[in-house]
């Protein structure tokens, strides 16, 4: 017994100081190999008395377990150490830059159009479009603006022919005409798009964007117009309260007509929408003129409704603090990166209009 105890203690000591897996494995076979020390001790069991055998066998088994356990722990220990050492050597500088991220952006005009469409979609409007090139009739005459009408002077028009028959639409209102001519009431549409006027300075660009709105049904009155625009403005600017003022105005294609101002103030050099005592004109609207309805074959004794036109670029400028309209169309990489929107920022009702 003392022999094997001694063997055990010697090997435990050996294993404690050993740091090499191969050497540990050598010890393992030294002990438990075919002619291993412990294996040989087991072989001796057959030649001793039953009494002694029982005792010795039990001792041997205990020693065997202890040593084997020690060996496997030791191997694991060494392996772990080796792996850690290896990983330590593999360490890289993770603060080095990642591969290039290519960040694309959506232009503010497109983003604002999507925001507007999303808001009006919520109250049942669908989106219509019309061509950028229009004929004189759809752009003016059908909209109750005959040639001899001074209101035409309010629109500096680009023409494509000398007879002034073909032109670049000066507003999105001809989409109203097209929509009503090709369909039957009721109508409930918005029509965003490019519009053109031949003036150009800091606040005017020869091309800009408008969204037209039209709702024609049996009993649509000015209260609905007010409600619709009030809803839109509040949603668009993402404010709880909005100060809004309807003011009489004149457009040949609506009557009564109104211009809508919203309240604002300047705080720390930034424009704050919805408060303050200054007024900012943001859109024109009114009840569609019976002459227009007549021109598009809608019975104005049965159907009536409202229309509005909003400057998209201007809305975007107000909401996102953009000062210069001309910059919208100058394709400056810096400007596009700065004011552009992430393509995943899709305005929607459930996720919110904007981040």
């Amino acid at each position: 017994m003392s022999d094997i105890k001694k063997i055990k203690d010697d090997y435990i000591d050996k294993l404690n100081t050993e740091n090499n897996v191969d050497k540990v494995n050598n010890i393992k076979s030294e002990l438990f190999g075919k002619n291993g020390i412990i294996s040989n001790e087991f072989k001796k069991l057959g030649s001793i008395s039953v009494e002694e055998r029982k005792k010795l066998a039990s001792d041997l088994n205990n020693i065997k377990d202890e040593l084997q356990n020690k060996i496997s722990i030791k191997i694991q220990e060494i392996e772990t150490k080796e792996i850690n050492l290896k990983l330590e050597k593999e360490k890289i500088d993770v603060t080095l830059p990642e591969r290039d991220i290519e960040i694309g952006k959506i232009h503010p005009v497109s983003q604002v159009i999507d925001e507007i469409s999303s808001i009006f979609s919520e109250i049942g409007f669908s989106v219509e479009e019309g061509p950028d090139v229009e004929n004189e009739y759809n752009n003016f005459t059908a909209l109750n603006t005959p040639d001899n009408h001074p209101a035409r002077d309010m629109h500096d028009t680009f023409y494509l022919d000398n007879n002034k028959e073909l032109l670049l639409r000066t507003h999105t209102s001809p989409v109203q005409v097209r929509t009503m001519l090709k369909g039957k009431p009721p109508f409930k549409i918005i029509a965003p798009g490019r519009t053109y006027r031949s003036d150009s300075d800091q606040t005017h660009a020869p091309m800009f964007h408008q969204v037209e709105g039209l709702h024609i049904d049996k009993n649509i009155h000015m209260g609905h117009l007010k409600g619709c625009l009030n809803y839109f403005i509040k949603e668009f600017f993402e404010v709880d309260k909005i100060k809004m003022r309807f003011r009489p105005s004149h457009f040949p294609f609506t009557e009564p007509s109104a211009e809508v101002d919203i309240g604002y103030e300047i705080k720390n050099g930034k424009i704050v929408i919805g408060e303050g005592d200054k007024w900012l004109e943001i859109l024109g609207c009114g009840m569609v003129h019976p002459n227009v309805l007549k021109n598009v074959k809608v019975n104005s004794s049965k159907y009536q409704g409202y229309a509005f036109g909003i400057g998209i670029d201007r809305l975007g400028m107000l909401k996102y603090g953009i000062n210069d309209l001309r910059a919208f169309f100058e394709t400056d990489y810096r400007w596009l990166s700065h004011f552009g929107f992430d393509p995943l920022d899709v305005p929607s009702n459930y996720r919110g209009l904007s981040r």
């Binding site: 080095l96 591969r99 694309g104 952006k105 959506i106 232009h107 005009v109 497109s110 999507d114 469409s117 979609s121 109250i123 049942g124 669908s126 989106v127 061509p131 950028d132 090139v133 229009e134 759809n138 009408h149 001074p150 309010m154 680009f158 023409y159 494509l160 000398n162 109508f187 409930k188 490019r194 053109y196 031949s198 150009s200 020869p206 091309m207 009993n219 009155h221 000015m222 209260g223 609905h224 409600g227 619709c228 009030n230 003011r247 009489p248 105005s249 009557e255 109104a258 009840m287 019976p290 919208f328 169309f329 394709t331 400056d332 990489y333 596009l336 990166s337 393509p343 995943l344 899709v346």
Partner: protein, 802 residues
Amino acid sequence: MKFTVDWLKNHLDTKFNNNQIIDKLTNIGLEVESFESSASELDTFIVAKIINAKTHPNADRLKLCDVDIGSDKTIEVVCGAPNAKNGLLTVYAPPGSIIPKNQMKLSVSKIRGVTSYGMLCSESELLLSNESDGIIELKNNKYANKIGEQYFKNTSEKVIDLSITPNRPDCLGVRGVARDLSAAGAGKLKINKKSNLKYRGNQNINVTIKKEKVQGCTTFGSCLIKGVTNKESPKWLKDKIKFLGQKPISAIVDITNYVMFDLNRPLHAYDADKIDNEIIVRSSSKGESFEALDNKKYILENDMCVISDRSGVLGLGGIIGGARSGTEYSTKNILLESAYFLPRSIRKTSKQLNIDTDAKFRFERGIDPLSIEEGLIKASELIKQICGGEISNLDVKKIENYKKTIINFDPFLFEKTTGFNVTNKELIKILEKLGFNVSKNKKFLKLVVPSWRPDITQSIDIVEEIVRIKGYEHINTSEPVKTRLKPTLNYYQKLFHFLQRSVASKGYLETVTWSFTDSKINQLFKENDEEIPIVNPISSDLNVLRNSVFPNLIFYLKKNLDRGFKDISLFEIGPAFKGKNPGDQLTVIGAVRAGKVSRLSWNDKERIVDTFDVKKDVIQSLCEAGIDKDDIVIDDKTPSYYHPGKSGGVYQNKNEKNALAYFGEIHPNIIKKLDIKTEGLVIFEICLDYIKETKQKIKDLKSEYKFSDFQKSERDFAFIINKNFKSQELVNIIKSVDNKLIKSVRVFDVFEGENIPEGKKSIAVNVTIQSEEKTLNENDLDNINKLIISSVESKSGAKIRS
């Protein structure tokens, strides 16, 4: 339309203060542009401080002063005053100022070789005293905080500037504005005093309105005023003229102008002694000419309404008078004209001749045809009062009588349109105050429209009048009606939305550029499209509608490259015009990519952007937008602005006529011609209109889910094949061997050169084979392999590489 509150009060009894009046004007649709003191010549003189006064390099007696005028930068002024010294507060006049003493206008000038921006003023120069030895010395305690502010307080009366909409000619006169205000409860319209003017004798210059096919004049009223003394206007009148932003000329001219702005009744005064015998109102003949009061000679077309005498044209009726018969200080006898000209005629003539005058502006919008006498009387009274003279009887010639406009108005229309109700009593009161004659006719109101309201012709106009005067704040805010008539977006609108965002997500910045472009650049991209010139372009380099998105994209790409950006990805989605008729346009995406991939990367090798970068972007975008990648067919025919060997067209299937997209390198000639400096430039375009609409919704497109768990095998093949043979075709041949078993074919190597015969290339493909029914054994696989090799060899002329 400009006037002062005092002027308004000539017509309106009101207890309203200025702000209340301003608010009321806005609320009834007479938009107030501004309410400010009229600009004075003295406004430009400002308080300034000399920061540093040093001696002029070329003149000992002059000083060079750095002057703080309250802006970011100091201004350099040369000054001869001995008292100019550091820290002195004084008065500065910028270039453009008019010095009160000598009425000289300052300009930027060089004084002994040094540029002086404006002047520091002495009291004498500002007419404050005779002190001229030095510049003004302002007291520190009073002016130290006022640097940059106006030195002279503008004490002139504030002027209201209204922006009058084209439907309201009546409000182009102060009385009309007063009437509107009175209807809205802002006071009481004063009743015109009855004239006690005494008339002597007849207007003995014969007036004839000729009957013509086109006659622009229906009524011509006139009177003679004999023995006047024309002179400078009295102060009150001069002030009024100045408030209007105009220059006083002489009493007679100022009076006619004053009456025009007061009553909206244009008048014209002729020197009666310069009229040759008689007045004939007629249509012009082509080639006639006259010199107008603006000192320009106008050559007339046919059918313009002219006032003439026996010697020829005197003036254009309702637009501008002629120099020949104009009044002067020496004028003794006047013929005063008050006429009615048709808006249509005025507009046509003034457009043809490009003339804009206050009278034209008013006649074009419609003057009160019944204000002829009123205008003559008011002006005559003033002329008599200021210039003396005797007034003849009024002479009014007409070829047409004014017809009253009568509207039968159903009061219910008001509520139906506005959504709220006003009592008949209130409604009638408003209309009467606006000048309507109202009588009841069962449930209707019979309304006689006042003659000064040519804009009112039908019932809806009446609704507008009532709601405008009542106030838009009375309109209720109804909850939006949420009923939906059809889906928000149609297929192509959704496609637009998807593609826009999917291209952006590939790293492209979206831009929006003009729909017009420079014909010289457009030329390079227009292919066979017709050029669409704009008749009146904003500038010569934006003179045509763009036939393609690329002219602008390339132009702005170059600008950004010139700004120092090297790696640029830009795209635009918008119209490309194919003809000049409405609807001749396509919705396209154009995208450009320049520079390198992985520029200055520490771990990746940098390389120039190439055709396969944009091919990936375009195909991936199309797939994201819902196009099946397996349907896509690539062709190598592309528009001429692409590199002929490094570009391709994308088709939705092989029978499609129009490519829905193109991609590739831009043609080197274009890069050279436009002088674009970049390492690489690749582009792609997608035409949304050529994408076929799928009627099926995605819920219908999701078919039964099938998959195979049987072992799959991969085999590699390398073929030697003609250099021009397209890999797409090779892949198709292999797939067609067994569409069921061959799951995918992947080209993993293309190689030319060493060991490959001239004119040939080696293509290596990896083929995945898998059955849905069983595990394929070696035998099965061998058969397939053999079939693949034999098919490829027989169909393409390729040889398997051993």
